[in-house]
């Protein structure tokens, strides 16, 4: 028997995972950052469910708002789109 609070939890976790996947896969970096902020926001709601209001507030202001703002400034000073090329394993693994 699944009660309603539990459905909300399942839906929230699902939304969070989907947002994370989109944030990683979108080629438009601005959209990716918005996805990342969405992950943080949903996570902060989950923190509320887990009885951690302090953490939820901090995550919403610092984790979502400030870090997204800093990311957007960085995108403004660099480039907005990921260039399309074949993908290889990260370069710091190789010497």
């Amino acid at each position: 028997m699944i009660n309603c609070i539990q459905c909300i939890e399942y839906v929230m976790v699902l939304v969070m995972i989907l947002a994370a996947i989109f944030a990683v896969e979108w080629k438009d970096l601005l959209a990716a950052v918005v996805g990342m902020a969405a992950v943080s926001l949903v996570a902060s709601i989950l923190f509320f469910f887990l009885q951690a209001p302090d953490v939820a507030m901090t995550e919403a202001t610092i984790g979502a708002a400030m870090s997204a703002a800093v990311f957007i400034f960085a995108i403004k000073r660099t480039q907005r789109y990921e260039t399309e090329e074949e993908e290889k394993l990260g370069w710091w693994i190789r010497w």
């Binding site: 939890e9 399942y10 976790v13 969070m16 995972i17 994370a20 996947i21 944030a23 990683v24 970096l29 990716a32 950052v33 996805g35 990342m36 992950v39 943080s40 996570a43 989950l46 923190f47 887990l50 009885q51 951690a52 209001p53 302090d54 953490v55 901090t58 995550e59 610092i62 984790g63 400030m66 870090s67 800093v70 990311f71 400034f73 960085a74 995108i75 000073r77 660099t78 480039q79 990921e82 260039t83 090329e85 993908e87 290889k88 394993l89 990260g90 370069w91 693994i93």
Partner: protein, 115 residues
Amino acid sequence: MNIGVYYFGAISLMLIGLYAILVKKNLLKILVGLSIMETGVNLLLISIGYIAGRSAPILSEGIGPNQAVDPIPQALVLTAIVIGVATTALALTVAINLYETYKTLNIEELRRLRG
């Protein structure tokens, strides 16, 4: 193996972030992955501190010491969030400097340019 939905969410976020770090080539994308991974770790810590049926550790409004969840992981996560944002800001600064030198954020290109 019975793990709750919160543990599942936290582990998934960490794996998605790690995937981005390992596979993606755009530096900003890698940093997005790092940030997602940190969120996952924070969620994991908070859900370890949760105790079923108890409320937030604010001891007014008739909540006694035996009716509150664990405050320590929450204090730890406060620290971890701030540390995460500090790392992100510094990393983005380094990325801006890299872009101004090489005019690209693609790590393969960076390797080639440096020779």
